[in-house]
């Protein structure tokens, strides 16, 4: 098979081949055609659908050529992935060899012992070469992937940082307005521009347990009283209700038709085609406004998440690749993770595919990233870095990694949908979410 590949493919392979072959076969010559250590192994990999997995899937033939393994890479949508992976891990299933350690499940999965600690793989020079350099992954991103035992359970592949973008910034400018910095600015701007040129004002990911919380905190509210020590939900405070009211209103009044059904993929498509103007979600998605298929690359503007009365609270979500405790192919799984997140491949994803969510310090600080993440003159890398700094200072992302967050997350999804669809007032919806969350926490055995 190797011989049938054309020249350019082979050239690409050589670089990666030197790397993987070298580390797989210490003391032997770099990969030759026959050196397929994992021949006959089928690796089942699953993460949620996102830009980086799409790139990896594209590159899979290279991994398969190098190692002889066959990779089945499944990428469901975010909620479906989480549901399946949680089910699979909680029942000790071995359907997956490599999984995504989802941010909001990390504590639940790691501390229940459902994942394999990776330290032994990383330390073993036969399994990992020194220059793979685990310390190159930003410490703040490794933290949520680390268990109470201090061991590392996932290698970060994505950091999604909450920023904002206006796909049709020209409409804002035409109305004599700048890029909105505060939640009040945002409201006024949307009010002035919604519907102009048939462009709706605002759209966001209907996973409100993620997309609403930066607004909740900006208004001075929070999810839990003091996570992770005091998990009493505080969703019915006046601040939380005001935030919910504000947020549901911009979703409803300035959104496209059917706004509360929009998933991140749809949000991106709506922005790229110029049907909707403004969104505040993760940069992994918003950076796609600069893609070749986008109609708005020339009219886009980017900025920090909007600031509210209580300050600015950009969310940060980290996702890592991990190995289920029940996997039957752990070594091969590690080989895959190592290949996927090798320095060469993460850099290549930046350069060749404009990937906007590096997790290695060396990538973050590289001139390539600065170039690839500059869209229409806006330095997204800089905005992301600033957001991470703000987030790191407060430590307020702790709410997301408590084991019961997934249940509370769904309460928030429902609360915002209930308000935006006019079923409940903000107060009723948030009181319901509060009561529902308390019931869920009790069912999960959390002492309040």
């Amino acid at each position: 098979m190797f011989q049938t590949r054309n020249f350019s493919r082979r050239r690409v392979l050589q670089g990666a081949g030197l790397l993987v072959g070298g580390l797989l076969l210490p003391g032997k010559a770099p990969a030759q055609g026959g050196a397929k250590r994992l021949a006959g192994v089928t690796l089942n990999v699953s993460t949620f659908s996102a830009p980086f997995p799409k790139i990896l899937i594209k590159w899979l033939p290279e991994f398969e050529q190098l190692t002889g393994a066959k990779v089945v890479y499944d990428t469901p949508s975010f909620p479906v992935y989480n549901q399946r992976a949680d089910l699979e891990l909680s029942t000790g299933g071995s359907a997956y060899d490599v999984v995504n350690v989802t941010f909001i499940y990390s504590s639940r999965w790691i501390n229940a012992g459902w994942l394999t600690p990776l330290d032994d793989f990383i330390r073993d020079p036969n399994k990992t070469p020194a220059d793979w350099d685990v310390d190159d992954f930003l410490p703040g991103l490794r933290a949520p992937e680390t268990g109470k035992d201090g061991k590392l359970y996932g290698i970060p592949w994505s950091v999604d940082t909450f920023i904002s973008a206006a796909a049709r910034f020209d409409l804002f400018k035409d109305a004599g307005l700048g890029f909105p910095d505060t939640t009040d600015d945002l409201f006024d701007t949307l009010k002035a521009t919604h519907g102009k040129d048939k462009v709706a004002g605002f759209v966001t990911d209907n996973h409100y347990g993620w997309s609403f919380v930066p607004f909740l905190q900006a208004f001075g509210g929070n999810v839990f009283r003091n996570p992770p020590d005091d998990l009493t939900p505080v969703l019915d405070t006046p601040e939380a209700i005001a935030a919910a009211e504000y947020f549901a209103r911009i979703v409803k009044d300035f959104g496209p038709n059917g706004a509360i059904s929009y998933t991140p993929d749809q949000v991106v498509k709506a922005l790229q085609s110029g049907r909707v103007n403004y969104s505040a979600i993760g940069q992994t998605y918003l950076a796609q406004l600069g893609d070749s298929g986008s109609k708005v690359a020339g009219t886009s503007a980017f900025g920090l998440a909007p600031r509210g009365p209580a300050g600015r609270f950009p969310g940060v979500a980290v996702h890592g690749l991990g190995i289920p405790a029940a996997s039957k192919n752990k070594e091969a799984a590690w080989t895959f993770i190592q290949w996927a997140l090798s320095k060469q491949n993460t850099r290549r994803a930046l350069v060749e595919e404009n990937l906007a969510s590096p997790t290695r310090r060396s990538d973050f600080e590289s001139p390539e990233f600065k170039t690839s993440s500059t869209i229409n003159g806006y330095d997204i890398a800089g905005i992301v870095r600033e957001s991470i700094d703000i987030s790191a200072k407060g430590g307020y992302m702790k709410y997301r990694t408590v084991p019961v967050y997934p249940q509370v997350d769904q309460q928030l999804n429902k609360a915002i949908a209930n308000i935006a669809s006019g079923q409940l007032s903000a107060r009723q919806a948030m009181e319901q979410a509060q009561a529902g969350s308390i019931a869920e926490l009790k069912r999960a055995g959390v002492a309040l």
Binding site: S49, V72, P76, S77, E88, G92, G93, A95, D265, S273
Partner: protein, 292 residues
């Protein structure tokens, strides 16, 4: 017992009702035809929309143009992806489950028709009742059991749970077919020295062959169409086509062309099979027949 064949053939035993009503027969007749044709078109429209969408080129999906140059690009893209595998899984699971259900269900149906034992009606009703249970009731225990038995995400595991509905379908459908075959033929075979099952094999089953074929098709369609069990009990190895469709819907960035093409492909075998057994259709529906 209702004479099933009457219903099956849609035989209009009586003069058509509408035409017996007196006024302006001709005009009424024409109006009726037009009305019905329009209604049929309206009913078909959602279905046709899906099919035309699967043939649209990608950049025409959102366009308002009625006319476009049809392309098979969406189908080609599907076939190159993992969809073909799930299609084969569907085929394997449906065939396996149909085969097993026939193997067990056909003799049971025969016995229930011929053997007048006490409590027979009760057994028959119990069998039918199992089909009424909401799938969620079976899924929870099956899911937990399959973890232990290693049947999770396997074709066999899925085929087995499909028997929860297929077995009762076979037993009920086949009973009416066997009932239509005169017992005297079997009795003649018995007198010639055949055992019960030999007579069944040589005499009864060949006569019931069309019914058997129709029943098999029904089992196949029901298995093919299942979504809920497959969603929960499969992951990658045994994923069936209906679950793969949802993957397109949720995972692949809303590629409507591919979504429509996968939907069209999944309904195609069902449509073909239905046309084949059209005349047994009502029979299948009434499952045991209306009481006179």
């Amino acid at each position: 017992m209702t004479d099933i064949t009457d219903i099956i053939r849609f035989r209009s035993g009586n003069a058509p009702l509408a035409l017996r009503w007196p006024t302006q027969r001709f005009l009424v007749r024409v109006g009726l035809h037009v009305l019905v044709a329009v209604l049929a078109l309206m009913v078909l429209l959602p279905f046709l929309w899906l099919v035309q969408m699967s043939l649209r080129p990608e950049d025409e999906i959102f366009s308002d143009a009625v006319l476009f140059t049809p392309t098979l690009e969406n189908y080609r893209a599907l076939w190159q992806g993992n969809f073909a595998g799930s299609f084969l899984n569907s085929l394997a699971v449906s065939s396996l489950s149909t085969g097993l259900s026939l193997l067990l269900g056909v003799p049971a149906a025969y016995v229930l028709t011929r053997w007048r034992f006490k409590g027979r009606a009760r057994v028959a009703l119990w069998i039918l009742t199992t089909r009424m249970a909401p799938p969620i009731a079976f899924t929870i225990p099956f899911f937990l059991a399959y973890r232990v038995l290693g049947l999770q995400d396997t074709v066999w595991g899925l085929a087995l749970i499909y028997m929860t509905f297929n077995l009762s379908i076979v037993i009920w459908f086949m009973q009416t077919f066997f009932a239509a075959i005169p017992e005297s033929l079997e009795e003649a075979a018995w007198i010639d020295g055949c055992g019960v099952w030999r007579a069944f094999w040589l005499v009864t089953l060949p006569l019931a062959a069309p019914g058997l074929a129709a029943t098999a098709v029904f089992c196949f369609i029901f298995s093919w169409s299942d979504f809920f069990y497959a969603l929960i009990l499969t992951r990658t190895n045994a994923m069936t086509a209906p679950v793969a469709i949802v993957n397109f819907l949720q995972y692949e960035g809303w590629e409507w062309g591919k979504i429509a093409a996968s939907g069209t492909l999944v309904m195609l075998p069902v449509l073909i099979f239905t046309l084949l057994v059209r005349k047994y259709f009502v029979h299948g529906l009434t499952a045991g027949g209306l009481k006179d």
